[in-house]
Symmetry: C2
Subunit: 244 residues, 2 copies
DNA sequence: TATATACTATGACGCAGCGTCAGAGTCAAC
DNA sequence: GTTGACTCTGACGCTGCGTCATAGTATATA
C-alpha cells in the first residue's frame, strides 16, 4: 500500500493529479484510511500505468476510462484510430513547418499576401484556357468559377499562394521525397477543386510555365522565396514525370 | 465597413471569436455604431489576416498581440523560434506514432511492460561489464547506478522498453532513413545517460548482441514485435557502421 | 507532552480559446 | 406593426490539471 506521495514520486504524476483522477472516477485508490488518506495497491498502480500509456498517446481521460472500463472494448481498433489521428496531426505539422520556413525565406518583414493580384490570376486562367479550354471538364469548372464572390476569390488566392509558400519551405528537401510528393498532390487537388480538373498532363504543363521565367515564376518566388518556382517544377516532374 | 457577420463569412472566423478578440484587445473594429454594433474597415481586416496567419502557426493570442503591437519586434526571430517549436512537436509526434505502431504489432491485448525483468537487466549489465568494464568511464557510471531506488530502476526499464517498442513501429521504414537514425541516437543517448558512456563502438557491439538470438533478442522482440531486435541491429549498423 | 515537520484533504479559482445558451436590443422590409 | 435576421452582453462549460488557502493528521524530537 502506497500513499499519494509515494505513487507520485514513483510515476512522476503529481499528487493533485492523482486526487483529480480519483475525483473523476478514473483511478480510485484501493482504500482510504479513517482520516481519508488514499492508499494504492499494485492493481491500482497497474491501472495507472495503463492510464499513463494511453494518455501519452493523446487519448482524452474520458476515452481512457472508456477503454479501461469496458473489458470488451476493441483496444487495437482504438489504437489504430489514434494512430491515424496522430498521423494526421503529424502531416499537418509538417505542412505548417514548411509554410513557416517558406515565410522565413521570402522575408520576415514583408509578409505580403497580395503578390498574386487578381489581374495576374486572370491572366493565368486565360493562358490555361488557351491550352486546355477545348476540354469539356474545363468548361464545366469555369461555370462554377463565374459565381464566386470577390471575397471567396481572394481567399482562394491566398490559399493558392500558401501552397507555394509551403513548397518554398521544402527546398532543403529532395524533390523525390515523400513529403514533397504529398505537396504535389496538394497542388493538383487544389487546382482540381477550385479551377479545373488538373490531370497529370496538365500539371506537367504547368511545371513548364512555372519555370519559364515570366510572371508565374515571379509570383511563385514571391510566395516562397527565390527558386521556389523552379523547385516546384522539379518536384512536379519528379512525381508526375513518368506518366507523361 | 463590414459587420461582424460579414467578416465572419469572409474569413471563416466565428462572430463570437471576433467579439472575443475585441474584448481581449487583440482586434478592435474601426468603429462602433450608436447601438454598439462593430464595424470593421480594411485595416482591421488586414490585422485579422495577420492574426490568423500567426494563429495557424501555433502562436498564442498573447504572443500574436505582442508581435503585431510592437513595431520593432523581431518577427523573423519569433518565426524561427516557432519553427523550432513546431519541429520539436513534430519529432515528438513521430516518436509517438512509432511507439503506437510498435504497441499494435506486439499485440494490443497484452500490453505487457514487465517483459524486461530485473534479473535479465542485471544479466545484461553483467555482459556489458565483461566487455567494457575495464574502462574508467564505465566504473564512474556504475557508481551512480548503485544508489538508484528500485522504483527508479523500474521506470528506467520501461523507458528502455519503450525505445525498442518505437523501433518496432519503424520497421516499415528503411534502416537508413533519418527518423530511424534519430531513434538510434536516442538509444545511444539513453544508455549513456542511464548506464554507461555508450560509444559508437559499444553500440555496434550491442547490435551484435541484439540479433544473436538470445534473451536480448527475445526481450526486444517482446517490446516491439517479432523482428524488432534484428531491425534495431541493422539500424545501428546503418548509422554507426562507418565509424567502426 | 509540546512542538516542529512533513504529509494529506478539500474547495475555489485560474489558465486558453473559444462554443453555447439566455435575455434583450436593433435594423430593414413588408 | 410585425416578422425575421442580426447584434449585444454576461454567464457557464469544456480539458487537465497547477496553485493557493485552510485545516486536519502522522511522526519524530526536545
Amino acid at each position: 500500500m502506497k500513499t499519494v506521495k509515494e505513487v507520485s514520486v514513483l510515476t512522476g504524476v503529481s499528487v493533485r493529479t492523482l486526487q483529480y483522477y480519483d475525483k473523476i472516477g478514473l483511478l480510485s485508490p484501493a482504500q482510504y484510511t479513517q482520516s481519508g488518506y488514499r492508499l494504492y495497491d499494485t492493481a491500482a498502480l497497474e491501472r495507472l500505468q495503463q492510464i499513463l500509456l494511453f494518455r501519452e498517446l493523446g487519448f482524452s481521460l474520458a476515452g481512457i476510462a472508456e477503454i479501461l472500463d469496458a473489458p470488451d472494448f476493441d483496444r487495437s481498433l482504438a489504437l489504430a484510430q489514434q494512430i491515424e489521428l496522430l498521423t494526421l496531426q503529424a502531416e499537418r505539422l509538417q505542412g505548417l513547418i514548411a509554410f513557416a520556413r517558406g515565410l522565413q525565406q521570402k522575408g520576415g518583414d514583408c509578409m505580403d499576401f497580395q503578390a498574386f493580384d487578381k489581374t495576374k490570376l486572370e491572366d493565368y486562367a486565360r493562358r490555361a484556357k488557351e491550352q486546355w479550354g477545348h476540354t469539356e471538364e474545363y468548361r464545366a469548372a469555369m461555370a462554377a468559377e463565374e459565381n464566386r464572390t470577390p471575397q471567396e476569390q481572394e481567399r482562394m488566392i491566398r490559399d493558392f499562394m500558401r501552397i507555394f509558400t509551403e513548397f518554398g519551405g521544402m527546398k532543403t528537401l529532395s524533390c523525390e521525397s515523400e513529403q514533397v510528393g504529398m505537396q504535389v498532390d496538394k497542388l493538383q487537388q487544389f487546382i482540381t477543386d477550385h479551377y479545373y480538373p488538373c490531370t497529370d498532363e496538365i500539371l506537367c504543363g504547368l511545371a513548364g510555365m512555372y519555370e519559364a521565367g515570366g510572371e508565374f515564376t515571379e509570383n511563385i518566388d514571391a510566395a516562397g522565396g527565390a527558386g521556389t518556382a523552379a523547385f516546384t517544377a522539379a518536384a512536379i516532374r519528379a512525381h508526375r514525370g513518368r506518366s507523361v
